[in-house]
Symmetry: C2
Subunit: 230 residues, 2 copies
């Protein structure tokens, strides 16, 4: 940790002095003390982006759900479980020059989460889970009246009509860029080492070739760096 | 793998020639291509039992859900995701001299699982998940008319009234032993390295002291060995 601190202090690069917030990984939404709803995000892409931004000299705050991926090095790490905890951590971490929302945040939580383990009643009666909508972290930050980061980047994990859905998402959330990809199981992207993204901005949609998640991260970090110099 | 095969062939011990089936880990029940319902089982206790039985010379078949724990060595491993896949793997693996059901199998699956990612509809309408009861693997095997393993051991993860719930579970399922524990978050057992169990048999309930999961595994393996010699 001391070594990392020294590294960070000595580190130079185009993003030196810029504070960048990244969210990454899945969220876990509890059903009861032993069960939860999860998603297949490994945190690999968000972690790679954090490393790429740190390598360009940024001060990175990394807010992560319970992800399998090894944590990035030389950044500030905040571990959370649920979407509501993630929003709280994000609000605490702001202000920032840029914010990248790569986490796969659960849209819904279980409103009727139980304090004790839900048991089979032996009568074949099934549990009823009532859901409540989680806070929309990307929209909340994108639409801040004061203290909005200068650049807000969202992610869109789609299984069909990627560009249309992601373009609509960008307008609805009011973020600056959307990094969209197709997470259908047959693409092997979720949990895999490669990614194929389309970046949507006010300039339209730019399809990047399929490449390693590290390469996607480096290119995105370079574009963030350029945008923050403008 | 060749080395392990040689090890297994050379291995001696009181369980030599005995085939023992173990299930371990959580199951994942899909909601849609990216979301699933999971539970906090790490697979640590089941893995430790597999290693302990193999060390006594048993031929172990290890059927595991997507667990974090490193896989046991020198055993046959079958990886599954859902409860239904686990039952199928168990039925394929039988007959066996003993079966130990240490997996935390989901009681329910999502009957209405979707082939495409469920999206927010923008109107604040919440998804409705319909559940169906999963097959009861422990009861299915305990109540087999032909080919039932000579010793069937179930597990009961409880959050309250451990002995009463586990004793009732043993009678309901018709297994021989139940290894019961308290998985309330404050015990630190689920995901931790220690366990504190009560073993229920036709002799009543025997509370074991809190000890490492490896120690629980060794003691249980020794008792299984004794029971199979009788």
């Amino acid at each position: 940790e001391i070594v990392e601190g020294v590294e960070a202090a000595l580190r130079d690069g185009p993003l030196k002095g810029k504070r960048i917030l990244i969210t990454s990984g899945p969220t876990h939404e509890p059903i009861d003390p032993v069960r939860y709803i999860a998603n297949r995000s490994s945190g690999a892409q968000g972690t790679a982006i954090a490393n790429a931004l740190a390598a360009l000299g940024a001060d990175v705050v990394f807010v992560t759900g319970p992800a399998d991926a090894a944590r990035p090095r030389g950044v500030e790490i905040v571990e959370v479980q649920s979407a509501r905890e993630m929003l709280e951590a994000v609000e605490t971490a702001l202000p920032a020059d840029a914010a990248v929302f790569a986490a796969a945040v659960a849209d819904w939580r279980v409103a009727s989460a139980s304090d004790s383990k839900i048991k089979k009643d032996g009568m074949g009666k099934l549990p009823v889970l009532e859901f409540a909508e989680n806070p929309d972290i990307l929209a909340t930050v994108s639409q801040m009246k004061a203290g909005r980061p200068g650049l807000v980047v969202g992610f869109a994990a789609e299984t069909d009509d990627v560009v249309a859905h992601a373009t609509a998402k960008r307008e609805r959330k009011q973020c600056d860029w959307i990094v969209a990809n197709d997470v259908s199981p047959e693409t092997g992207i979720m949990g895999g080492s490669e990614n194929q993204v389309v970046v949507i901005s006010d300039q339209g949609a730019e399809a990047w070739p399929r490449m390693g998640k590290d390469q996607v991260a480096k290119r995105l970090a370079a574009e963030i760096s350029t945008a923050l110099q403008e």
